[in-house]
């Protein structure tokens, strides 16, 4: 892992560890993080930049906001969702195979 050093560097700071603990509970915006930590917005933003560069958090764009979340959790969640979708669709299409076979049989009988 090439940014392992960056990750450890990022984790060396107690405020950044606390921010990660807060993000473990779910996504948060900079403003939502400013409140409990009693830091200025630029200070929080600086910490988030370090965490993001270390690959520990990801940020998305939501209008003017850029909510942050744990990177690892984000990856796990999309995998979980895709696994659910894959399972449901695979089941659906297996059933569809049977329906198509039935349609074929019926059609064969009609034309005969």
């Amino acid at each position: 892992m090439e940014n392992l050093d960056a990750a450890f560097g990022a984790l060396a700071d107690p405020t950044r560890r606390a921010i990660l603990a807060r993000l473990a509970l779910g996504e948060a915006t900079v403003m939502e993080l400013v409140k409990p930590f009693e830091l200025t917005q630029p200070a929080i933003s600086q910490h988030l930049k370090v965490l993001e560069n270390a690959g520990l958090i990801t940020r998305r764009v939501d209008g003017t906001k850029r909510p942050c979340r744990l990177a690892k959790e984000g990856v796990a969640e999309i995998d979980q969702w895709l696994a659910m979708l894959r399972k449901a669709l695979a089941k659906n299409y297996d059933r569809l195979d049977e329906i198509l076979a039935e349609m074929q049989t019926k059609k064969g009988r009609r034309t005969r």
């Binding site: 969640e77 979708l85 669709l89 329906i99 349609m103």
Partner: protein, 164 residues
Amino acid sequence: MSRMTLKTEGDRYVVVTRKFAASPEAVYRAHTDSKLIQKWMLGPEGWTMPVCINEAKPGGKIRFEWADGKGNGFYLTGEYVALEPYSRIVHVERMHLPDPTPDNHVETRFAADGNGTLMTMRMTLPDEHTRATMLATGMEQGMEASYVRLEALIAAEAAKNASA
């Protein structure tokens, strides 16, 4: 036999392909005839679709309601955008869990492939919030509930052992 592929395309789309041993006409019909849809578009084992409104024409309404027979259920609404028999369907859909998820734009193509059909479905990847909601309350509701029960069982077991 695994004939289905599912791939993400960037962070916005999911592309699913599947081959069927039937003509594009038959596969297209199975996707647009409500009587046929009710037989297969059911998700995990144990679910049924008691309500299937499916007006297969541009602007036509879609409403699918699923139930697991144990009091759990959810529904989907949508509209058809374009239909090209027997090769392409474009529609928009949203789940109601019970709050509606953002619109999912779906394009489904059917192409002759040897004696069968290759279906390619391209859908919008829901955002993180929607995925989390769908995981928690959506199709796998029954399964989710059993995991919760299992976790509760394990926690109770652990508590018992700790106090013993």
